[in-house]
Every structure is written in structure tokens, then in C-alpha cells.
Amino acid sequence: MSDTPDLVTGDRETPIIEPPVSVTEVDEGASRREVHDMWVAGTEEPEWVRTATDEGAQEMLPEGDDPAAAIQRGIAVDDDFVDSDDTDADQRQIINMGPQHPSTHGVLRLHLELEGETIRRVKPIIGYLHTGMEKTAETLSYMQGATNVTRMDYLSPFHNELAYSLAVEQLLRVEIPARAQAIRILMTELNRVASHLLWVATQGMDVGAVSMMLFGWQDRELCLEFFEKVTGLRMNHNYIRPGGVAADLPDGWEDDVESLLVKLPAGIDRHEAILNKNPIFLDRTRGVGVITPEECRQYGVSGPIARGSGIAHDLRKAFPYSGIEQYEFDVPVGKHGDVLDRYFVRMEEMRQSLRIVHQVLNTMPAGDYRTEDRKVTPPPRKRIDESMEALIHHFKLFTEGFRVPAGEAYQGVESPRGHLGVYIVSQGGARPWRLHVRAPSFAAVQAMPVMMTDSLVADLVATLASADPVLGDVDR
């Protein structure tokens, strides 16, 4: 593969670095593809194909193309996929699911090897939404960067912005006012509820409860209305920025949040009333898509999937950020690691998030909504007319952006899908030298073969929905 032109490094004469130990020995698969694609570091895996970028894209093999070369590019299925030692190999058929499929929750493609209706092997193929955001981040100033990262995991935009902003602030070493921190917690926790509501809608629909689709969206709209009022946008808000938040909460936000705190629990109760005792839903989810805690650790799976398997890990408790340690909440944990336990975990997480929102509402500190450091945040509009210095600050911020001291920072936050981390390397300029995102959905997709092998095709759809991958998060 070393002779193939590389999209990331371009024509740079960078030798491919061979690490002494394969990362896959440590991390079962969560990294192997990404390491090669994005960092051009070698692994010793035979399955060393480019997946996120477009080399694997040529769906239609040209006439007379060499199949071996095609396998190298990730077009065809690798040899052992077909010629299994299993005597029933000739009974098996390979079908392709996605990337355009209503149940794949985005442009995920799954290669399935079926024996009748039973799945014997699954191979997730990703990269159909690869947007090059990490590369784009290198061309954007730190202030513009939040616009970029908010579009990664588009169901939890606030979490993306928060992780990014916290990482930048780590490098800047600026203090964030208490009000800004509380606003951040308020928005991210409401975002968790909105994201889980969308999840319960799609999970319900995927196992046949189409009415869930309508109920889930209805409640999610309540959250979005509040987001729109605060940030001006329903999605991709670009609201949490390095230094604080973009604007203070609007007048009357308390009433809006209070009304949400009445309507959303009622909505969650209604969802549970529909699903909890529904025999079809229980049959379709109980014991389906099981993943053990050990497998979760092997694949780096986090969030509700890991908690559904019994791993009581939540970054909000383990590594608190943005002052979340001052609020009381519990971390729900499941036992069986199946789809049903993930459902219970997420439903309880919504309640716990609303509990945090309730506390934020009662304890919202007064003060500024962003740091007073004028090297980082723009001066108030009024000051620009009065002060030459304010004008200069404003001009410098929006033309060059602010400079960030050289160094590297990593910040993880608990997104609705798990451990979302942003890693920034700065060389002292106004733009990051490198930005990498540790995506929770990526790990979830890598662990899909574990959850899906030897299940039925219908169960695959339920499992896929319960993993709640966002392909924008996987591919970036």
C-alpha cells in the first residue's frame, strides 16, 4: 500500500512510520483503520485497506480490473470472507446493506455473510460521509473552529463544541466565568435529551413501532425550539465557543426551561408507556445484540452501550468538566448488555439529564457569559464605538484570530454516544496544527460485528439502532 498516492500527506515525502507494536494488539479494531487512513501509520493487520477516504469508493469494477488490486482498494470482499473453512461455505450468500438503506442511520454500509437468515459475518464499511473535517480544522482559526466541529456529530452539536472549546481553553489557560459554564451544562444536557429522543424514535421505528417516530420527533421539537431561541439555529449552533458562549440566554429563558421540565418528563413517560410492556418490543430487544463488558473495553466502546453492559463509566463522573461535579445525578447501568438494557439506560439518562437541568435552572449564577479576556473574545458592540483599543481587538480577532500557545491538549466529554474527545496540537499560531477527534460512534461501529454475528437479519436492524451511530461522527 505504500506506493499508493496518499490523500492526506499529498506529495510530501513522508516515510510511512512503522510502529514497533501494532496498535491492534492493544485496541481490538477501534483504531486499525483510522490509524492508517488519517495518520498514515502502519499496522500489521493484513486487512490494511483505506476505508474512510475515497479510494475504496469505486463501487463498479471496471472491465478487466485485477480483483486482487480491487481487494486492496477495499472494493471486493477479502478472500477469506468467501472461502471460509466452514463446510457450509457454499451455502452462504453475501449481501450488501447500505450505504443507502433506511435502517443504517446514515450512510453506513454493511457486508453481510448470511446462512439462510442468520448472519455469520458482518463487515462495516465506513467513509461514505468522510468530510475531511480534521483537515479543514487546520485551515480555520480557533474561533472559526467551533463552526467546523459542530457539524461532526450533528445530533449532539453542543457536545462537539464543548469538547473543542475546552481543549482550546486548556491551551489558552483562560478562566471561564461560572455563568458560561452553567449555560454550557444546561445546553449540553438538554442536547442529550434531544439526541436520546431521536434515538428512541428511530429505535422504535426500526423494530416496527412507527408511532414512536412521531412521538419522539414531537418531543424533540420542544428542545429544538428552545435551542433556536437561544442560539438562532435548530442544529449546528456554533454557540459554545472558546472563551464562553456566543450570547447570553434570552429573556424569559427560565420560563422556557420550566415548561420543558414539565413537558419532557411527560413525554418520556409516554414513550415508556408505549414500549415498556409492549410484548413485540420486548421480544425484539431482549437478549439481542449482546456485548460483554470485556468486549466493550477491547473495542473502546463507551457511553450507553458500555453502561448497558454494566460498565459504570461516565466521563461526567470520572473526569468532570465545566463544573458538572456540582450537580447531583446518577449514572444508570444495565446488566445484560442487550438492546433492551441500552434502551433502559438511555431512558433513565434522559431523566438524569433533566435533573441536572433542573439544578442549573435553580442555581444559575449571575455574571458574564464569556471571559473578559479581550484577546480571546470580542468586546461588546457598544465598546467598539467608544474605545480605539476595543476596535483593534475586534479587528484583530476577526481577521487573524487569537494565537494559542504551543502545546497539545486533549479533552473528553460525555456525549450522548459516549466518550467524545478532541485532541489539539498547537504550534503557537492562530490555527491548530492538528486536530483529531476520538469519536464514540466510530468505536461502536467497529464493535458491530461482535454484537451482530450469529443473529438474524431482523435483529441486526434492532442492534444497529441501539448502537445509535451517527455517521458524521464516524467519518468526520
Binding site: P99, P102, V107, H130, T131, R151, Y154, W217, R220, R234
Partner: protein, 156 residues
């Protein structure tokens, strides 16, 4: 429409108007969600905005049964051949809405990974601006497309 000479209960119209009316009032979209815009497309189909008011709630998973492709989101280089294949599989007459900045122009991602506008791959009938366009914007785009179709002729 009914003239002096036609018996009561009979309506006269042109072929164009009749066929176009049927086409616009049951235009089934293909479920072709890509990114953030797909979420807003689903929100348009949800109970709050209710796309079924325009006879369009039937999102079809199979392109064979769809009349309209809403390209909702950023189209990567890897997705482009798939998108074209889905378009080719749709039966005539078919229309394409390019939803959002990324589908229309590449949006804020001018880089190696994205197709800079889906009109490089498929012909686009209507562009909906926004990042992402809200359900109201998408509905406006759809209604504008319906007006276009009503104003056109069925001869091609």
C-alpha cells in the same frame, strides 16, 4: 372550466394540467439522507411539520418507487457513485432537490473529501439554502418545485 355546452358534472382540463396535478400531489421522495440535513428532512416528515399535507410523507427506501430525490447533506467523493446509481435507478419522471449548502456547493468544506455541489453528478431542479435548512425552508423548496412542475408540460 365547464363551458356552456358541457353537461353538468363534467370537468374539462388539459392533459398537462391533469397529469401535472397528479404528479405534484403524490410526489414520493426517496429516502436519501446523508448528514445533518437528513435530520431536518426527517423533522419535515415528523408530526410537527407534517410533510403529508402535501402528499409526500411516503419516503421510499427503494429508488424504483420514488419520484423525488432530496439530496440531504454533504456528498463525499466516496458517496458520489452511489448517489448517481440511486438516481439512475429512479423511474422517469424524476426530480432532484439539493438540500443545504453542502449539497449545493460543498458549503464550508472546500477540501479533498467533498463533491463541490451535487449538480456535478445529477441534474438539480431546486436548491434549498441553509445549513441545515429548517423544515420550513425545505417545504418552501418543495412547494416551489411543485409550482415549477405545474407550470411545465408533460412533453419532453
Amino acid at each position: 372550466m365547464a363551458g356552456e355546452t358541457t353537461p353538468p358534472g363534467i370537468l374539462l382540463t388539459t392533459m398537462d394540467k391533469g397529469v401535472n396535478w397528479a404528479r405534484t400531489r403524490s410526489m414520493w421522495p426517496a429516502a436519501f439522507g446523508l448528514a445533518c440535513c437528513a435530520i431536518e428532512m426527517m423533522a419535515t416528515g415528523g408530526s410537527h411539520n407534517d410533510i403529508s399535507r402535501f402528499g409526500m410523507e411516503v419516503f421510499r427506501a427503494s429508488p424504483r418507487q420514488a419520484d423525488l430525490m432530496i439530496v440531504a447533506g454533504r456528498v463525499s467523493q466516496k458517496m458520489a457513485p452511489v448517489l448517481r446509481q440511486v438516481y439512475d435507478q429512479m423511474a422517469e419522471p424524476k426530480w432532484v432537490i439539493s438540500m443545504g449548502a453542502c449539497a449545493s456547493t460543498g458549503g464550508m468544506f472546500n477540501n479533498y473529501a467533498l463533491v463541490q455541489g451535487v449538480d456535478q453528478i445529477v441534474p438539480v431542479d431546486m436548491y434549498v439554502p441553509g445549513c441545515p435548512p429548517g423544515p420550513q425552508s425545505l417545504l418552501h423548496g418543495i412547494l416551489s418545485l411543485q409550482e415549477e412542475i405545474m407550470a411545465g408540460t408533460i412533453r419532453r
